[in-house]
Symmetry: C2
Subunit: 233 residues, 2 copies
DNA sequence: CTCAAGCGAGAGCAGTGCTCTCGCTTGAGA
DNA sequence: TCTCAAGCGAGAGCACTGCTCTCGCTTGAG
């Protein structure tokens, strides 16, 4: 009853995804600011007003693209993780980070859409939350596995951070030590900081061998979360 | 001969900075994408075409704002650093990072302009490089001081990173150990990763006490660069 | 004192997001 | 099986954008 809807509904789905595809094409070519509803409609052989039957505004189209981008990134990361399921936690951590970086380099404008400055005047609706969490949850899963098997190193935290750490850990991962949860959230932001700096040109004329640099840096970040050294299991 | 120019030149400077001021106002209010040359001109009581006598295009206006923003951030960081010149390196490191975060929270749209996704289709000219480096150089100075006085901890790097590390160190800070230079560049990106995540809403419903969280996180990053613990000199 | 350079005003072009109205089509319910 | 409202595309139009070009006034350097 969900797939075998009427022809009308099926056509609507097709047109909707054709619009998103073309929009994604233009996004990849020229970036979000130059994404034009009229140009999308033109390319699809329809008139611009017809497009508003599918997306009530340009921002809604962008939101759809954002969710798709989060999902695409999440899927890339999860695929990469599945491919190294049998190695140690730190290696898996690095593999996931490298997958995220690779995805970002392949689709810079989509990355900018989700981790760059949000489109001005626009607040991401809660709809995006689940898709946005996938990479973070994946990284957390790695740390959780490590915690259960080989254990994780715990760095003591200052007293002033204790309330926030406990609250954050209770919300996020009650089974992990609060110290680790805090470090994990920070690590998550730091990994994307590295990706963003590379992508947005801050490393120009500074870092040359960016792949090696990234691998080493995220490996140290992973170590900072408490993951063990590559040599160990 | 540079300040006492003709009245024409002085007027030009005044009008130019009036344009930038009004543009900055609109930028702060609505973000970069909604910054409109026509609206700026309107507000200044001039016609839009007249504005092109001062900035050849909208992108050039944005570039001017970008440089000013880098300088403003750099100045905020340097002022904060000067205010704690007599404390230990790690404390100074944290103070500079907190100043950068504070500046970003106070001027989110300007921060987005320089560390968020670059305005699409637009490549920052080399003009911006010196202004853009100020915070990085400041952080490097702190590590250099620490290296000269109390010394910095050196984390060994893998062999595959050795060439890049040596090249990077030679370019950036020949007086610092290559291991430290690499860690410093990564730390630089990681600090701004934390700021960006907070500013762009990634920490919504995740981190509550963001100030404490940030202070702890950048302190750990500083420690990762080799700075000593707060207790020590 | 002069005359070119600097400047502001205005009209105009091509493009944008978005709205509204008009008819055609189509499929679900009587 | 027939009908009629809902869904849809087309077109015109509004208010806005960045940018160009031409026209005259002003002004300050030679």
């Amino acid at each position: 009853m969900s797939t075998a809807q009427g022809a009308r509904a099926r056509a609507r789905i097709e047109v909707t995804s054709a619009i998103k595809d073309e929009a994604r094409r233009q996004l990849a070519a020229d970036g979000a600011a130059k994404l034009s509803l009229r140009a999308v409609a033109r390319e699809l052989g329809m008139v611009s007003s017809a497009l508003y039957r599918y997306f009530p505004s340009r921002d809604d189209l962008l939101t759809a693209l954002i969710i798709d981008a989060y999902d695409s990134l999440g899927e890339a990361a999860e695929t990469a993780h599945a491919a190294v399921a049998d190695v140690g936690p730190l290696r898996r951590w690095v593999a996931v980070c490298e997958a995220a970086r690779g995805w970002a380099l392949r689709r810079p404008h989509e990355y900018a859409l989700i981790y760059g400055s949000p489109v001005p005047g626009y607040q991401a609706p809660d709809t995006t939350v689940p898709a946005a969490s996938r990479v973070g949850l994946l990284l957390m899963g790695i740390v959780r596995d490590a915690h259960r098997s080989v254990g994780v190193a715990r760095t003591p935290i200052p007293a002033e951070l204790r309330p926030e750490a406990d609250r954050l850990a209770a919300d996020l991962a009650p089974d992990l030590p609060a110290e680790v949860s805090v470090a994990l959230v920070a690590a998550w932001a730091q990994v994307f900081g590295l990706i963003g700096f590379e992508l947005f040109g801050q490393f120009n004329r500074v870092v040359e061998d960016r792949e090696t640099f990234f691998r080493y840096s995220v490996s140290r970040i992973g170590h900072g979360v408490g993951l063990v050294f590559p040599g160990n299991p």
